[in-house]
Amino acid sequence: MIHFVLLISRQGKVRLTKWYKPYPQKERSKVIKEISTLVLSRGPKMCNFVDWHGYRVVYKRYASLYFCMCIDAGDNELETLQIIHHYVEILDRYFGNVCELDLIFNFHKAYFILDEVLIAGELQESNKKTVLRLVTTQDSLVEAAKEESSSLRSIIAQATK
């Protein structure tokens, strides 16, 4: 299973963290620090896997961002690598040519999408269309609620005038 997912920028800034194993808060920052140093120092021609305390970190760099997932040593590394790519493809379709800024200002969207791709550290859906459909449905639910509340507010505002 995937123990955690980290998105780290070239500068070492964290863009997303998701923990599927119960790491205490202190441990989390330690892990992030270790993984950043480990992954950022690796050259471009190296393989996508690094040993880390008996686990494997599978990572891939997309432009300025490193997507990292930690798995057990016996797990299938390439499968995990393709989960990363699958996630990136969905982000790309959702944002339309995704870039780091998208993920900074819409970090919550990145979380929504991740929750549709992974649960319990396992792949939930490999169909990109289904994931995108679900995420846009969520968006429209939020939009609808917003409109409703703003229209309500205007009604109240008018009534109290």
Partner: protein
């Protein structure tokens, strides 16, 4: 750029981005946190929108690495919000911020449950996702049934069901009891018929976890998995959206093949055939293509297929295909594929008969050891380590030593440890081993742990032939200008002990040795100074005739350190100074160090410890563990043989005791004066002197007057005893092994032994080996001049798997090999067939499956025989399948322990006995004795410092896992007695466990009244001396 839709949040993020340095960022964050805190305080004025916005900001700040230690309540409370936008934020941020252990989570269990069982599909999804991501034990207790219902409900849409499947997986991982196996295997089979591939993918993840825990229960699902694979491989009926770069869901394929690896075998011929067709298609049909993603996906499937083929141990044809593929992979440029090729080749080492093919790739693997990528180098190192054996050890170890020069720091320690282990395991001769270790210390002293140099000292101490060589080598190194401190330690130690053996060589006179060692003194740390002082004392002692000049020099140094600040050094200096003026007495005190008892290499243990345990057992991991221990046994031999001293040391003792008793020879035992370790040989010799006519020296051919060899006599005696094992008899003579030694064996017993003179004698102490294997899981069971029998065992609950390794040591075959296993009634043993012939220098493996039906102390026996030339050899060996193998230590908290202890307060379930004649041990030693029996002594359960409480779980087919509780109350006045209380849920188990513990606690066999009063016998090393001779016991008596 899409906007977040929350202006305040976007502004805050921009602000942070505009900060020029960390300090500014911190100020901005603090300001925001202060703001949020005040807004949360007067919550009334907060609109849901604002609340949502602040919670997002908190998550963002948290992601930046700041502590967010407030607002958790507000976040969680959003879960209970009626509207979707707030609820969504509540669920998602909660699952990011909090851990499953957070107490706040408990408060929302009800809300979450309502969302799960409610009608709103979007709410269901949110709740399932959060529980799936952070659900803990409490969630699993209260929500599992509802989640199950959703998964199997036909009215739920796939979007809910796939989430339910993974949510259930999470809950199952937290608590495996949430799924009742009986009902679930059928349900699972139905679920695997799922047409929606999204749901099926999630279901398959759940299934992998279920079978990894209990494959037996899910046999009915096996054909379904094969069918799924077939469907994928043929690309039948796979919607376009579920193909990934043209490959039908690689994830589902990988998971399905993973699940299949948890089944021991696939017996159904049609399923097997179908599966192999699929695997063949994957192995043959995977090409390297340009698109990297397609390539990765297809190879993910391919590597999983390789693992499955290895697991199923397929027809040799397919296996050789696999090896060929891996051989190709480890030579490619693409780093991922090379990495995985190396990794899988390591796994491949487990498969029999391919080692030789893998060895052909050695050169290629060594190239990867020099790759710029550390990940690849690590895999290459693992592989080289795994494939090393006697044939290639020299080459590989030398390669590792060379690599040590350039390896980065991160790898040096591992590298030197591995090189040291390989050198020890496979040394063609011991001098080479010494060479390697000294080179290691020389090249990478900082990374050579103390264990490594301790080990080399042990070897040298135990092997007289090696001592001059090692001393000479150490002397050579001392000539080097710059020397690592570890090297100073080891050379000083070796020269102190064995430097005198070199005295004839140039540059090795005591004076010169002292001078060159003393050169290092000013620069070394205190721990080394201590060793140097001992070395000086030893040099002084060995200087015959005494050299006044040298003595003066050394005494000056001792004098100088008499006021040294470090107590250890000060004491040594004072003592050595005084001792060195005692003249001849010095030689006694500073005599050569005694031989070390044979023990498991600390290095191997260290290497095993270094392997981190991962929570979920993967099939591959299990097998790779098997591999390490496998290697251990098969190759344990050279070092063991390399210590001939211990062989003759232990051999003679037991028979000699027998004979001493039989012939009623009484003699005065010389008082114990030598150190424990080498105390025994002295006594043995003394006995040999007393009864010279029986001629029991082991090296001598068996006496013609005695019909059978002593050792065989032993085995024969033990055989029937062990099989029948009547409890009464055992009670009388608590320690079976000792009984055999000490019970007065009449002439009759000797006469009944087979006339056929068995001229083959074991060259190891069979009894001792058996005892060692009772607490260890691998090692040598038996060895004689022609054959060595090694044993490796693995235990899981009430199942065990033994492998006997029969190694022919000769250059001609052993024929008519028979190994008849006589299991006691409580063990089900399924041996595989034994080959009639063992070819020269070959090793055959006999796997043996064991099932423990119930508790018993009876022992299985293997009646083993073979013919070599005209000699028929026969031995009855006890197999170390003893009660403690089915125990798993467990530590209980007082809250868990006391209810159990009280609940078992019924007579046959809990029994108590005052045990007398116990070997007087301090409590910590009883605790460690218990630990070796897999009973976990748990402090804190009994406040009385003289008592000890231990817990364990016993596994058998009838009792399944059963908790056993043990309490020992010792009497500080009289350490030879104690009160033992044993409790478990099964009266039979309680009784057996009590007797079993007693056997280990009691030491002095109660000699029957008829036998003559025998003076205290020197016991085997594991057995402690008798009470009244033991200083500890006498002390206890005095106090």
């Amino acid at each position: 750029m899409a906007l977040s839709g929350m202006r305040g949040l976007s502004v805050f993020i921009s602000d942070i981005r505009n900060c020029h340095n960390k300090e500014q960022e911190r100020l901005r964050v603090d300001k925001e946190l202060g703001n949020i805190r005040t807004r949360f305080k007067n919550e009334k004025g907060l609109s849901p929108y604002e609340k949502k916005k602040y919670v997002w900001k908190m998550l963002y700040i948290y992601m930046l690495g700041y502590d967010v230690d407030f607002g958790h309540m507000e976040t969680i409370s959003l879960i209970s919000a009626p509207k979707y936008p707030e609820k969504q934020v509540g669920y998602i941020v909660t699952s990011c911020l909090l851990n499953e252990t957070n107490d706040f989570l408990r408060m929302v269990i009800n809300t979450v449950r309502n969302d799960i069982i409610g009608r709103n599909e979007t709410f269901q999804c949110l709740a399932l996702t959060m529980v799936g991501n952070i659900g803990g034990k409490e969630f699993s207790e209260s929500l599992a049934p509802d989640v199950q219902k959703l998964l199997i409900s036909s009215s739920c849409r796939p979007v809910v069901r796939k989430k339910a499947a993974l949510c259930l997986l999470r809950l199952y991982r937290r608590n495996t009891d949430v799924l009742n196996i009986d009902g679930w295997s059928d349900r699972m089979a139905q679920l695997l018929d799922e047409r929606d591939l999204g749901v099926l993918t999630s279901v398959m993840s759940l299934f992998v976890s279920l079978v990894s825990n209990n494959a037996e229960a899910y046999w009915n699902c096996l054909p379904k998995c094969v069918r799924i694979l077939e469907r994928m491989a043929r690309n039948q009926d796979i919607p376009q959206e579920y193909t990934y770069y043209g490959i039908p869901s690689p994830w589902l394929q990988v998971k399905t093949m993973r699940a299949l690896q948890y089944f021991p075998t696939i017996e159904d011929p049609s399923a097997r055939r179908a599966l192999f067709e699929v695997l063949q298609r994957i192995l043959m049909g995977t090409d390297v293509v340009k698109n990297v993603n397609k390539n990765n996906a297809s190879h993910a499937v391919l590597f999983e297929a390789l693992a499955l083929v290895m697991h199923l141990d397929a027809e040799k044809e397919m296996m050789s295909q696999c090896v060929a593929l891996l051989g190709k992979f480890i030579a490619v440029r693409e780093p991922n594929i090379r990495y995985l090729g190396l990794e899988n080749m390591s796994r491949m080492l487990l498969v029999t008969d391919v080692q030789d093919i893998i060895k052909r790739h050695q050169a290629q693997i060594i190239i990867s050891l020099k790759d710029p990528d550390i990940s690849i180098r690590r895999r290459a190192l693992d592989l080289l380590y795994g494939m090393c054996d006697v044939t290639n050890a020299k080459e590989i170890v030398e390669e590792l030593l060379q690599y040590l020069n350039t390896a980065e720091f991160a790898m040096r320690e591992e590298l030197s440890l591995k090189a040291a282990i390989l050198a020890e395991k496979f040394a063609p001769d011991l001098s080479w081993y010494v060479d390697v270790i000294l080179q290691l210390i020389d090249k990478a002293g900082d990374f050579v742990s103390d264990d490594i140099w301790y080990r080399v000292v042990q070897f040298v101490t135990n092997n007289e032939d090696l001592q001059p060589y090692a001393a000479a080598k150490a002397r050579e190194y001392l000539d080097k200008p710059a020397l690592h401190e570890t090297m100073v330690k080891v050379s000083a130690y070796l020269l102190g002990e064995y430097g005198h053996l070199l005295s004839q060589r140039p540059g090795c006179s005591p004076k010169e040795l002292f001078a060159i060692i003393n050169d290092k003194l000013p620069t070394v740390s205190t721990s080394t100074v201590a060793i140097l002082l001992s070395t000086y004392a030893k040099i002084l002692m060995h200087t015959q005739p005494p050299d006044v000049g040298l003595q003066k020099q050394i005494l000056t140094i001792f004098k100088k350190y008499e006021s040294y600040i470090d107590v250890e050094i000060q004491q040594r200096a004072v003592e050595y100074f005084e001792l060195s003026r005692k003249g001849a007495a010095l030689a006694d005190v500073l005599a050569e160090m005694p031989k070390f008892p044979e023990r498991e290499s600390a290095l191997l243990k260290k290497a095993e410890d270094a392997e981190v345990d991962t929570a979920e057992q993967s099939a591959i991991k299990l097998r790779s563990q098997q591999q390490t221990s496998n290697a251990l046994v098969v190759t344990d031999h050279p070092p063991v043989n390399g210590v001939p001293a211990s062989n003759h040391l232990t051999l003679v003792k037991m028979p000699s005791q027998n004979i001493a008793e039989e012939s009623n020879v009484t003699y005065e035992e010389p008082p114990v004066e030598t150190p424990k370790e080498n105390g025994t040989p002295v006594k043995v010799e003394s006995k040999v002197d007393i009864i010279p006519e029986t001629n029991i020296e082991s090296k001598v051919e068996p006496p013609t007057s005695q019909p059978a060899s002593q050792a065989d006599l032993l085995a024969d005696l033990l055989g029937p005893l062990a099989i029948e094992g009547p409890p009464a008899a055992v009670e009388q003579n608590p320690v079976q092994g000792l009984e055999a030694n000490q019970s007065p064996v009449g002439d009759l017993a000797l006469a009944t032994l087979e006339d056929q003179s068995n001229s083959v004698q074991p060259i190891v102490n069979v009894e001792e080996k058996f005892h060692i294997l009772c607490s260890k899981d691998s090692g040598v069971l038996y060895e004689d001049p022609h054959i060595q029998i090694g044993l490796k065992a693995e235990w899981r609950a009430h199942h065990g798997r033994l492998v006997l390794f029969l190694g022919n040591k000769n250059t001609s075959s052993l024929v008519s090999v028979r190994a008849l296993i006589l299991p006691p009634s409580h063990l089900k043993m399924e041996p595989s067939s034994v080959p009639d012939t063992i070819p020269p220098r070959a090793q055959v493996q006999i796997p043996l499956e064991v099932v423990n039906l119930r508790a018993s102390r009876d022992v299985a026996v293997i009646d083993f025989s073979y013919t070599f030339g005209t000699v028929l050899a026969n031995a009855k060996l006890r197999l170390p399948v003893v009660l403690n193998k089915f125990l798993q230590p467990i530590t209980l908290s007082p809250e868990e322990f006391f209810p159990q202890w009280k609940a078992l307060n019924v007579q046959p379930l809990k029994v108590q006995e005052v045990v007398k004649g116990v070997k007087p041990l301090p409590l910590p030693e009883i605790a460690s004795l218990f630990m070796s029996l897999h009973l976990a002594a748990t402090p804190g359960l009994d406040n009385n410092p003289n008592n000890l409480v231990a817990c364990t779980t016993f596994f058998s087919e009838t009792t399944r896992a059963m908790l056993c509780l043990v309490r020992v109350e010792t009497d500080p006045q009289d350490r030879t007695q104690l009160r033992l209380t044993v409790a478990s849920g099964d009266q039979y188990l309680t009784f057996e466990l009590k007797e079993f513990i007693k056997e280990h606690l009691i030491d002095i066999p109660r000699v029957q009244a008829s036998s003559p009063p025998v003076p205290v016998q020197p016991q085997l090393p594991p057995a402690a001396p008798a009470t009244y001779n033991d200083p500890g016991a006498m002390l206890a008596g005095l106090l």
